[in-house]
Symmetry: C2
Subunit: 207 residues, 2 copies
């Protein structure tokens, strides 16, 4: 479709027509979407934003009055800001930080495995209860990748969760079997990163 | 590297050694990252999580005591939860919602252009001031794509922002010239979406 040489009025008219059709098409599609269910969401990929987007959903859910459970399978140093922000919502949020740091910090495989198993017990309770509408399993993918938890134990719990329970799983290298049972999978791809030009992680923004 | 046939003790020892080396390598890399600067971040791609990850960064920044300015270039119906959550932080947050809905809702190109220009004036003020450390320009990419704002006017303002000012730009179809001047670009790729199986957007989670 050529737009060069058209007057502003012609562009406006064409725009109005195109947008009217778009709205109609959208309404038709939306009318077919009627199923309500708890979603299993996976944020994976090598880019930034996997846990950050999960925290964004958490704050949206909290703002909507929902109760949220969070299990952090790997404790990083960058949760200070989130913790302070989550504390504003009092007992609307339940947080379990079970990991003891990144695996290269602990350098202790048996301790990592024990921490992962303890975290998974907390996760199972949050998934099963009638109280929390959203459960975030932050960095579960890493724990599954290192085989600290058995995929055969984790998958049925996620697949057979209560019908309206929303679950978000984050971490790079999501297992194929998890992607298979998920409702929504987003891959965060890193296009450009400031590390490459010697810029360090910026407090308040990246941690 | 073969791990089959190794005892648990051998696996543990190998793990400890590997993680020790990883920690050393990491420390060496981190030592070279010394630059502190405000980051220009772009969240683009067709997947979900672009605005949500920006809101995640907003809450992290708020939790760290920073002041945050938000300009929404396209007003959607899904900000109720975020608004309630942001209100918890009182005057730490400045929000300007200038768009009047998606372009297929207004169907009025001239009104969209006027709204985009008004929003950009607010954005320029937030970028220039000494008060807000983080500015989110939500869906600016859409407005640039439709050419409601002139790229030649927007780019210099972003490129020449105050040195410690962090800016996040969201929206699909980020212009190449914007990616060129950005510090951090993440592309959210949609791998799987519940819409395909007739599931509607779930309140509290997706809006």
């Amino acid at each position: 479709m050529k737009t060069e040489g058209l007057s502003e009025a012609e562009l406006d008219a064409r725009h109005a027509d195109k947008m009217r059709k778009k709205k109609e098409a959208r309404a038709k599609i939306l009318a077919t979407k009627t199923v309500e269910k708890g979603l299993l969401m996976v944020h994976t990929g090598k880019g930034k934003g996997k846990s950050t987007a999960a925290f964004g959903v958490v704050f949206r859910a909290l703002g909507n009055g929902m109760k949220v459970g969070i299990v952090q399978f790997v404790k990083g140093r960058w949760e200070t800001g989130e913790r302070v922000a989550l504390d504003k919502f009092g007992d609307q949020v339940t947080i379990n930080t079970m990991g003891e740091g990144f695996t290269w910090e602990t350098q202790d495989r048996q301790r990592d495995i024990a921490a992962a198993k303890a975290a998974w017990e907390k996760a199972k309770a949050l998934i099963a209860d009638d109280e929390h509408q959203l459960v975030v399993l932050d960095e579960l993918n890493i724990v599954l990748r290192y085989e600290y938890l058995d995929l055969a134990e984790v998958l049925p719990v996620l697949a057979n969760r209560p019908p309206m329970k929303h679950v978000i799983v984050t971490g790079r290298n999501a297992r194929d079997e998890l992607i298979e049972i998920a409702d929504l999978v987003t891959e965060m791809e890193q296009v450009k990163h400031p590390f490459r030009s010697g810029v360090k992680a910026q407090k308040g923004i990246e941690f």
